[in-house]
Amino acid sequence: MSHDEDSVGYMTSVSRPVKGCAGNTGEWRIFRPVKDDEKCNNCLLCWVFCPEASITKDTLEIDYQYCKGCGICEVECPTGAIVMVKEEKR
């Protein structure tokens, strides 16, 4: 944390918003969601229900850096396009 003039001048403890404030939360994952593009019908349910905001709306790509592997997308996918696969040893 740099102490620039502004932060010293105000002497406040203001946090700044950043992706991954808990680190690369993808490391928490035990099961990894894998999406089959052929089965996907772009219904956007996985995007809406992702608690971690780890799926992009336009391409429905999964951000494995932050996806915690909760598995909600697999359960809610109506076409079975997302399957949870066990993570291999890192």
Partner: protein, 310 residues
């Protein structure tokens, strides 16, 4: 009619927070921010959300945010709203921001009720969202005023002996302009109710059932499914109260009208671990019946039924 395509792509809740896997609060914050937009001031009452919004010097929420003590949700909002009014009077604001208070059931049902009641009585212009996970999840799952009958918590090891209280009805009794209940299984209903709350002036109270995977003891992947089952079994009723009238909405409306059959409460109890003790005990059937009658009593009350007192 709003569809998923109409929801904004912008994420104000940033990925990589400290929330548990499948956390209902983080999902609810995402949807709420999509409805309210970036001109919002968030006040977080002590709860899990105080943790998952990030620790200094980093934050997972891309909005002005204030962490406040347990009992001060309504009081802090009153202060912020007064500040906004003063700035607006001096002409320093182009557009007045929406003030959103985000509190758990502990900070609403038990500890925060007096400041919330005061702010509602003064008609403070803000939205109060209670994400109700029916226990003090942040401190290790103790019982709260929202814990339903029969549920296990660390302080009710054999199942809670009392019924939960109905705080949405207490808020309706404040004669505030808008009260609504929402469920995460119906995100468009949630989104529209948040937008409606934003458009109304005065105190708005929205309550959401937040099934907590570690607290309620079910797999994180089942979070939406448990939310849906709560609504389908009647243990969580979706309605909104406006202009002195209560209307059932969405899935609950279909259930009340008889278009969809109500599922037994037992189906909801069995998919969670917190009711395992009571269901296995000799009092299991009695607790189930009491919850079933709690559901029908709540429905009758919302329909305008006046109990006959002797």
């Amino acid at each position: 009619m709003v569809s998923f395509k109409d929801l904004p792509e912008e994420e104000l809740f940033l990925a990589g927070s400290t929330a548990c896997q499948g956390c209902p609060s983080s999902l609810a914050l995402r949807i709420a921010f999509k409805a309210l937009g970036s001109n919002t001031i968030l006040i977080v009452v002590a709860s899990c959300t105080s943790v998952l919004q990030g620790s200094y010097p980093l934050s997972a929420i891309d909005l002005p945010l204030m962490n406040v003590a347990f009992a001060t949700g309504g009081a802090s909002a009153s202060g912020v709203v007064a500040g906004i009014k003063a700035l607006a009077k001096r002409g320093e604001l182009e557009e007045e921001p929406t003030v959103l208070v985000w509190a758990g059931d502990g900070g609403t049902y038990d500890i925060g009720i007096q400041s919330l009641s005061g702010a509602a009585e003064r008609g403070t212009d803000f939205i109060y969202v209670c994400y109700n996970n029916e226990m003090y999840s942040n401190t290790g799952t103790q019982r709260s005023g929202a814990t339903p009958l029969g549920a296990w918590t660390t302080t009710t090891p054999g199942g809670k002996a009392q019924h939960r209280k109905d705080i949405a009805q207490i808020m309706i009794a404040h004669r505030i302009p808008y009260v609504a209940t929402v469920s995460l299984a119906y995100p468009l209903d949630f989104y529209q109710k948040m937008q409606k709350a934003k458009s109304i002036k005065g105190t708005k109270y929205i309550e959401m059932l937040a099934p907590c995977p570690p607290g309620w003891k079910f797999p994180s992947s089942q979070m939406i499914e448990v939310s849906r089952m709560a609504v389908q079994s009647g243990m969580w009723l979706l309605y909104e109260h406006e202009d002195g009238e209560t209307r059932f909405t969405g899935a609950t409306k279909r259930m009340i009208e008889g278009k969809v059959k109500k599922k037994p409460v037992k189906d909801y109890l069995e998919i969670q671990g917190r009711f395992r003790q009571i269901l296995a005990s000799p009092e299991g059937q009695e607790a189930e019946d009491m919850l079933e009658s709690e559901v029908s009593e709540s429905i009758r009350r919302l329909q305008g039924w006046v109990p006959e007192y002797i």
